[in-house]
Amino acid sequence: MWDYTDKVRDHFFNPRNAGPLADANAVGEVGSIQCGDALRLSLKVDPESERILDASFQTFGCGSAIASSSALTEIIKGKTLDEALQISNQNIADFLDGLPPEKMHCSVMGREALQAAIANYRGEVWTDDHEEGAMVCKCFAVDSVLIENVVRANGLTTVEQVTQYTKAGGGCSSCHEGIEEILAKVCAQGGTEKIAAPDCAAPAVTVKPVTFGIPAPAAPPAHPAPVAAAEPPKLTNFQRMRRIEMVIESIRPTLKRDHGDVEIVEVDGSNVFVRLQGACVGCMMEHATLGGIEQKLSEELGERVRVLPVSMMAAARASV
């Protein structure tokens, strides 16, 4: 059984605003072809103020799809259309105190229904650019389509790079086989484009060859030997700080994409203290986020470092 929050359960067992809306003047109908879920969102919009007076939903979907729809109607009631358009799927998930990573697409469906309904009201045609695949990385909720697109757009060849660009694989590491399969598939399809797609904000960082583990999947005919583990050169203190900063900078775009951020507060021996910001604060993935940063820093520096929240700085120092 899924680990649903009490809020999700409440909105599933006692859905708000379920059913058709008789005098609706904006209707959005969307579905997710991947999982078969579908949602009709009906709004009653005041033509004068463009304020949403009433909202209702009809959902064909699982518990979290119904809960997300219910939450959405509660969030948008009373808002103007422009205010409503600011709502992200993360807002819907936050309203429900979080959704399991596999169920985040339910909140995406809610946001899309809202966009479609508003487009319908304004007489516009809503087109969707969102496509999702099977969940690969459960720690960071990254699906196969996103990974594939990023791999293709940025010419990625290793699991480490995929983690760097998408966070996928940066947590418990059990999805590395799945990521390797995607890398091999893209490679077999003629490799990568090396042209940054508009959607993929590629962090400006040069990626070193892998320093441990997984050989790069090769193009079908040639099978070069795995890159030998190069001994990381000894860094000066200044170089080390710069390197840490560079790694953190490379991670920030992916966190920002989820409305979060991170800053370095202090580097003390092998402890790196950071402050998580925005949506990262109190996020249930906080631990996994820190773990991902830690793994990447350790790889880049060629030494084991610990990434700790700034709140632990005093305690860590006292224990030395």
């Binding site: 109908e29 078969g36 959902t59 119904i66 995406v108």
Partner: protein, 401 residues
């Protein structure tokens, strides 16, 4: 009316029979010996395992007790069977299976396909049946093994494995069947069949989890999965899970004794449940080959509603069932079994499997019959595919992402 929990998910796992637990208990305490040891501690355990082997042998009608190999689970049995066939016959590189196997077979075959093996997956018709002529046409000298489940876990549909094994034997091809759902529910007589390997799992027949059996017909070429010890005559190394083996033996004895109950009372209750729900709820249907399926299984597809929502509402009433819906499994796709049968998304997502056991009572079934229709009605009221009193005339056609 009582609100005690009702367990109708016996194809997922079963409760341990109290007699099984009782038989096992001494093997956690005074009977802790290693059956390989020379002293009396080990000797008694060795005898108990011998008894259990005979009990399992009787349940599946094996000719020799040495054909029973105890291991850890159905998945291990499946994996051992397939990999053994490939290792023992390196000149053969094809596997014939079906599109509706358990993931224990399908995932392994997907993996082997990447390694270069050729996998032939038999499709099924809308009732879940395979085409025997298509099967016949796939048999050739490059096939290492055929692996076809005895009965499907989702729909309960029974495959003609005995006839298929005969056809394989005639072409000199090994035949394996994943029978974890069938053992204890349908009579099995391996000595009079052409089946070479069979997987069974303890926890599907009221034995504990973590114990399984691979039946290996004498003189079948075999390569062990685990090497390292002489246990199970060197075919499955690792110190015996003696308590669970004893438990499985007891469970096998009980299952054999209760076969008439499974095909009598359990089947009657299943039929009553299914008939009553189909009569009370519009726009739903039983999936699978209803005339030829496990006596305990009913899979009903409720159109225009989604399975996980049904399960959550059933669970609130203390009723445990399972669903072929994507949303319960962590993958986004609906059940591969429902898709293979060509059942449309809007029905496949609402497929609910009720699987009974000999512990279910008439009173429980009556409670479920009363509980289901209001749940479906409630969810349909929320469904965009559903109008006031039935499915919308104008099909709901959402913009798909």
């Amino acid at each position: 009316m009582s609100d005690a929990p009702i367990y109708l998910d016996n194809n997922a796992t079963t409760a341990c029979d109290p007699a099984v637990v009782e038989a096992m208990l001494p093997f956690f305490t005074e009977q802790f010996g290693n059956p390989s040891s020379m002293h009396s501690f080990g000797d008694r355990v060795g005898h108990a395992i011998k008894t259990a082997r005979a009990q399992v042998q009787a349940l599946i009608g094996a000719e020799f007790d040495s054909e029973i190999i105890f291991n850890s689970c159905g998945t291990e049995s499946d994996t051992t069977a397939i990999l053994s066939a490939l290792k023992a016959q390196p000149e053969r590189n094809q596997i014939i299976t079906t599109a509706v196997e358990h993931p224990a077979i399908l995932s392994l075959c997907d993996y082997l396909e990447k390694e270069g093996y050729i996998i032939r997956r038999l499709g099924v018709d809308k009732r879940g049946r395979i085409d025997i002529d298509e099967y016949r046409s796939l048999l050739n000298d490059r096939v290492a093994i055929v692996s076809v489940m005895w009965a499907n876990n989702e729909s309960g549909t029974i495959f003609p494995v005995e006839a298929m094994a005969e056809l394989a034997r005639a072409r000199g091809i090994m035949f394996h069947t994943d029978a974890v759902q069938a053992v204890g529910k349908v009579p099995i007589d391996l000595k009079n069949s052409c089946i070479d390997l069979l997987s069974l799992s303890g926890h599907k027949l009221h034995a504990p989890k973590g114990i399984g059996v691979l039946y290996l017909r004498r003189n079948t070429r075999f390569r062990p999965l685990l090497r390292g010890g002489h246990q199970e005559r060197g075919r499955r190394a690792g110190t015996e899970n003696s308590a669970s083996i004893v438990g499985l033996g007891k469970a096998a004895e009980l299952a054999l004794a209760h076969l008439p109950v499974e095909n009598g009372e359990v089947k009657r209750l299943r039929d009553k449940l299914e008939k009553s729900i189909l009569a009370a709820v519009p726009h739903c249907f039983a999936t699978g080959d209803v005339k030829n399926r496990l006596p305990n299984t009913s899979s009903i597809a409720f159109e225009y509603v989604e399975g996980e929502s049904i399960l959550l509402l059933l669970n609130k009433l203390g009723i445990a069932a399972s669903s072929g819906s994507a949303c319960t499994s962590g993958s986004l796709e609906p059940s591969h079994v429902m898709r293979a049968m060509g059942i449309p998304y809007t029905a496949a997502h609402g497929a609910i499997r009720f699987s009974l056991s000999r512990y279910n009572t008439e009173e429980e079934i009556d409670r479920v019959i009363a509980a289901v229709p209001p749940i479906i009605e409630r969810l349909r009221k929320m469904s965009p595919y559903w109008g006031e009193n039935g499915p919308l005339d104008k099909a709901f056609a959402p913009k798909y992402a």
